[in-house]
Symmetry: C2
Subunit: 190 residues, 2 copies
DNA sequence: ATGATATTTAAATGATTATTCTAAAACAAT
DNA sequence: ATTGTTTTAGAATAATCATTTAAATATCAT
């Protein structure tokens, strides 16, 4: 039988994920990944095939352990539209040293010029879109726009907020904006 | 006296700008820039100092000849809030072969992790923010949110739309969303 | 036309890139 | 303990990167 793996798969993926979130796919070298994962290049290639393979694994890890968990924590079905507000506000809480960033946003921008987008970008956007649509559909009234249309707006707003955070835009201004938007939304649906 | 410059400064900046819009700063090599500008590497370094120098010049060119002209065309002061709607819809018209992209959005995302942002990112966001604030302030009523808050929302929406275009999101869906948003906005202010 | 000066070109440089290879070390079952 | 297999570690590779250098070329004022 073979030697057992020494490293902690979860820690490796988390380290790689953080690097990719901060600096994008092209901005992270194998050497960087060695530093952030603790693995040597040989082990990375042995375990993940190539840089893109590790990236895909890290992106899946992001969807499962960052995005999904964030939704579960802030905006579960029972929390309704108020949960969506909490989800949006949670985006503003970032580490002091630069923006960690959202892989969906960042990779859509980095690859969207001509390179084919990783499937995880679509998966991520669909997870968000479905969450928004579901929460809006649950409280729909005849005064409001269709849930799909409202969800598209929230999706754009969500991505835009992440861009503005990345650009260093004032967080209090963003929080006021989010609250005004959800105040208005809740006024319409009640 | 010296030899005169052979190349067309405007064409050079346009070529470099398009490359940077599509593939970001890190995604464009000097070789790419040679192909897209027609200049040889030596001339690029002679004229712009280094890659970052050409990038700065191309970004300034973008603000002046793409962003400002787009605002002038679609959303001059006289056009009011209806002009803003036209500005947003204009974002959806892109070339068939991949997304050209907005330098402000793309560079904010690419550099926002830890690298310092070029000043042009702030300039661009401020140009947009001021335009939105001004148009909203001109029609403000007591029913609406403060112009600064409404402008922050439009700014986030604007950036988010650009991300979603980059991600290949359905353009008709985005257009419906934009129209619903401005229908609601115009309903409030009249 | 000539001299002074800039621009252009192409080759050279050194750093960094992703990836592969090789040998050493670690483990599990026998 | 020995065997078989896998993970490691580090060196080696070949490509590409931004940048510099030096020579050739082109232009303008005289």
């Amino acid at each position: 039988m073979a030697r057992t793996r020494e490293y902690d798969q979860n820690a490796v993926l988390t380290g790689a994920m953080e690097a990719f979130r901060r600096r994008g796919f092209g901005g992270v070298s194998i050497k960087d990944l060695e530093a952030e994962t603790g693995l040597k290049a040989g082990s990375i290639y042995n375990s993940f095939g190539d840089k893109a393979g590790l990236f895909r694994a890290a992106f899946d890890h992001y969807l499962e352990h960052v995005l999904q968990e964030r939704i579960t924590e802030h905006a579960p079905e029972a929390a309704g539209v108020a949960g969506l507000r909490s989800l949006f506000v949670s985006l503003l809480h970032e580490p002091a040293d630069g923006s960690l960033g959202c892989l969906i946003t960042n990779i859509a921008v980095e690859f969207g010029g001509d390179a084919p987008l990783p499937n995880a970008v679509f998966s991520g956007l669909n997870i968000l879109s479905r969450t928004f649509t579901d929460r809006l559909a649950a409280v729909q009234t005849h005064h409001a726009v269709l849930p799909q249309v409202g969800a598209a707006k929230l999706l754009a707003l969500y991505q835009g907020i992440l861009v503005l955070i990345r650009a260093g835009w004032s967080k209090p201004a963003l929080e006021n904006m989010i609250n005004a938007e959800f105040d208005q939304l809740e006024r319409i649906i009640t």
